[in-house]
Symmetry: C2
Subunit: 334 residues, 2 copies
Amino acid sequence: MTDIMSREIQLVSRPNGMPTAANFAIATTKLEPLQEGQVLVRNLYMSVDPYMRGRMSDRKSYVPPFALGKPLDGGAVGEVIESHAKEFKQGDVVISSLGWREYFIAAPKALHLVSPDIQPLSVYLGALGMTGMTAWAGLNLVEVKDGDVIFISGAAGAVGSIAGQLAKLRGCRVIGTAGSAEKVKFLQEECGFDIAFNYKTAPIIEQLNQAVPDGIDVYFDNVGGETLEAALSVLRTYGRIIACGGISGYNEESPQAGPSNLFNMITKRLTMKGLIVSDFLDLQDKFEQEVGSYFRDGKLKNKETVVVGIDQAVSAFIGLFAGKNIGKMVVKLD
Amino acid sequence: MTDIMSREIQLVSRPNGMPTAANFAIATTKLEPLQEGQVLVRNLYMSVDPYMRGRMSDRKSYVPPFALGKPLDGGAVGEVIESHAKEFKQGDVVISSLGWREYFIAAPKALHLVSPDIQPLSVYLGALGMTGMTAWAGLNLVEVKDGDVIFISGAAGAVGSIAGQLAKLRGCRVIGTAGSAEKVKFLQEECGFDIAFNYKTAPIIEQLNQAVPDGIDVYFDNVGGETLEAALSVLRTYGRIIACGGISGYNEESPQAGPSNLFNMITKRLTMKGLIVSDFLDLQDKFEQEVGSYFRDGKLKNKETVVVGIDQAVSAFIGLFAGKNIGKMVVKLD
């Protein structure tokens, strides 16, 4: 192995409110020589996800905060360049949580082998990756079933677009909201949503009441805020809420007030359940089998917004909060 | 049957904010002659409960609003004065939802026979009545079990005091909050709470952090507002919330903001479930058997605050919102 120079993105200061380019730096690191039992991987695609914003703040949460002056991490798909471990050979395609860098050396247990037959390989960051599994786990968490009316916010995003398509495959009536006419069209024409609307063009509660005068059974929440409040208002008795994300509040400098109508939890006997996909890793094979089968059969679209080059990763990440992605935002490493 | 004159309390205007005596009137009604298949009942005790406040506003909810110019209704224990129905005989003790009046005539299906062996009969409005069953159903709803640490707000109230005692009987560590030193003493000395504190003497979150530095598994919410926010902060991963009441907000003139830290639902994978006791009426026999047995064995205290006379019912009801009750507030009809 000759010297490998790997570019990586580091967090250099913690964002206060919306992250800016100044919170990040690009650095070049020379990798150590490969040791026995180690694998050298070149990343092909890396993931940028809204949840990473939480890790940029220094507070206790379900994953530790990113360290300053160190590379960020997150989902990535790569190919094995050289292996000194019996578990992998050159050319293998692997997923890892060592994104935000071009190359890395790791032990086999940090890698998960995937089939290169499915293309583009970035699907392992989307429909068949963490965001797809989040959608799938969320529907299972509150037992979404045939006949349910489900409302999905952030519906054109990586989680929402898969959740909606999976809900359609389960026989649900699916309503989604997104932030542009193009996204609404995507939901209606490509994802098969029964109704989709642009939350920016009129008050959410008005549009939602018009879309579902008889109410909803399930709310898949990716955004929080005003949309959660509207959903609480239209949920039917015994309705369920999948609390999956709250992107509307991730960049607020101080905590925002919660919905003023949370009392609906009582009067309608609602159930709200919080979801973190890492709780479901023991079901990964089941997920890959079920959702992989839908994908191979052409029943599930893995929409992506792809940017190219590690030097574009930060702007891709920041772009998530401006809704610049349709489907999964991924960075293709050149 | 001679003419029966019955005093009753009517709602004459809808409260805006805190109810006042002017929203109510006392009226005397002459009962119709008893028909075949009907039963005449004299109420002995009637219930005043915080949930009744919701029914005084004219809005859609899980029970219809009270009508203006008509008697209020609610739980009551009475004795059969005369029966023209085979199901009941004179002297029987019955519970009904026809409180706020001294006498009434009803069909048998509106009455539920109870044993007069348990005294005072007002226990059927408390530990063995709707509020006791609410406590019992709430613990079952989120599967409260041996070893759980449970925090209960409004703990000296009708629901909270029973919930805490039942939780102790299940082997839980029980923490409660109430609004006076006398109530705190009641929780510690009579109900066996492990820790109780007065939420008025220092910020709730501070007292709660001190009481449970390792967090709680379950929050039984009777009050909402700031206490819910504090509970969200101290709940452990996979914690559960019983959304039972929100008395802190019942008299607000406009909707109040929800907790600013609802995002804990996601990061801690919490479950919140709304509770209305009427969903569990099919379990009433099981409840009466289990909790009745605790009560008869002296394992469960049915603390009451009793006021006397139907003309005191309105002030007893309004007093609920000033925390004038310890345990169940009941009105003894003279």
